[in-house]
């Protein structure tokens, strides 16, 4: 059994959220619809719901993050959960404690949900296999493998602007090879029935047999952007880039950087997305990142509602087995 299977119970309900792979369109649209109804909360005077009152959510980050951890924290707090933020890279593991010992100790503090980010692929799944049955595990990014909540907030942002996935051309541009975000996005776009998913990157930044993921491959940015409705730029992952995959940042920008001139090749109503943090002048020019077609900051806002949705759905499914429902 892999991550795709252990995240579902025997009735096919989400218990954990580890990867997009293996989920049905219904799973994804349920998350998007629930998130849609949660966006209104931010417009109320009291930006808080009682749904997870009395639950404890632990943000277990073995790799640094600002945006993801903060929006998970805010999502949990808006659902009235208590939140514990643990930055493990600077703590127990430095003292030699094993991952399982760390988990057992936090479990002993009676928590209900782990939100896990780790530089190694499969960590969230490993934890999901070993935690007590009442605990839900959410993957907040594991190695190069998956970043499913990011992909869902991107789908949410696309759906809010473009509605129907079937007629869309979506291009993902940049460092696909190192990107867990791109992997999760490609799965989600295909499950939602996107008309055409393109990846645009130099050969050195594409995984082997990338076509098998259900994408069209372009090596030329101009060609790849032609008529697309959504442009998703990826960050050039400097910290993951060892060895000579690229000549230089400036040369990368010349060939793959998103400029206003290049964006003009896409559909006039195309939106520009980026999971952040952006490297201005490396993969995207400031004028585009801050321009009228950019929805980069909306993505951040949407991340809160989407994470609230995933938290309430998974913890809700732990509440009672399906057979006991009417």
């Amino acid at each position: 059994m892999n991550a795709a299977h252990i995240q579902l119970d025997k009735h096919g309900r989400l218990l954990h959220f580890l990867t997009i792979e293996g989920l049905s369109r219904r799973h994804l649209t349920d998350i998007l619809d629930t998130a849609e109804s949660l966006t209104g909360v931010a417009e109320r005077r009291v930006k808080k719901l009682p749904t997870l009152h009395g639950k404890t959510v632990v943000n277990l980050f073995f790799e640094s993050s600002t945006r993801t951890r903060t929006t998970f924290e805010l999502a949990a707090k808006r659902l009235s959960a208590d939140v514990l933020n643990l930055n493990i890279s600077t703590s127990s593991t430095a003292k030699g404690e094993t991952l399982l010992d760390t988990i057992r100790n936090i479990e002993a503090m009676q928590c209900d949900m782990f939100v896990v980010r780790h530089q190694q692929s499969g960590t969230a799944e490993f934890i999901a296999r070993h935690v007590k049955p009442h605990i839900a595990v959410l993957n907040a990014g594991d190695g190069r493998h998956a970043h499913p909540t990011q992909a869902m907030l991107d789908m949410f942002t696309i759906r809010r602007h473009k509605r129907d996935f079937a007629n869309l051309r979506v291009a993902i541009v940049g460092d696909i090879l190192h990107s867990r975000v791109a992997r999760s996005q490609i799965h989600a776009l295909n499950i939602l029935g996107t008309g055409e998913v393109r990846v645009i990157a130099p050969r050195t930044l594409l995984p082997a047999a990338v076509e098998s993921f259900g994408v069209r491959v372009f090596h030329d940015l101009g060609q790849g952007l032609k008529d697309v409705d959504v442009v998703i730029m990826l960050r050039l992952q400097k910290e993951r880039m060892q060895g000579a995959l690229l000549p230089s940042e400036s040369e990368y920008f010349q060939r793959y950087g998103l400029t206003r001139e290049r964006l003009a090749l896409a559909h006039p109503a195309a939106i520009v997305m980026h999971p952040g943090p952006i490297n201005r002048g490396v993969e995207i020019e400031s004028e585009v990142a801050d321009g009228p077609q950019s929805v980069i900051l909306e993505q951040v806002t949407n991340g809160i509602a989407v994470r609230m949705a995933i938290m309430s759905i998974t913890l809700g499914n732990h509440a009672q087995p399906a057979e006991a429902r009417g």
């Binding site: 109804s37 949660l38 109320r44 005077r45 997870l52 309430s312 009672q320 009417g326």
Partner: protein, 166 residues
Amino acid sequence: MLDTQALLHTLSERVRALLAERAVVDPALVGIHTGGVWVAEYLHRALGLTTPLGRLDIAFHRDDFGRIGMHARVHPSELPFDVDGRHIVLVDDVLYTGRSVRAALDNLFAYGRPASVLLAVLVDRGGRELPIQPDAVATRIELAPGESVKLSGPEPLQLVLLPHKP
């Protein structure tokens, strides 16, 4: 057999009378998803109100999340008016335990402080578990535990009696 159209008419007349008695001018109607919204839409037309209709989804305010988790279908809540100082008529299709109304009041107060809240329901089937009572009701019926009544819709609106589930 329940005559749904006649009951809707009765409810609108009772709400009209109640608003006159309380001297409430320009009330705001708020329906509870999904059946309550349908009834509220009918009342809104019948009473010729100008303030746009509000819709509340109580899924995130329910008191049984810890037992049964999320409900499958959640709708966005929208209150397209300022709640502060407003006279509000909260509308639901069937009043039973009172727990939905409690959750709806909880949700409503997250938007502001209304001047007053009246409760209008199409059917009161008894069985209250909380100190919540309707101000306007079209009919009261007796049902055995396990039996239920629900409003199907939106077109046509029809009250349906459901027998005891085994």
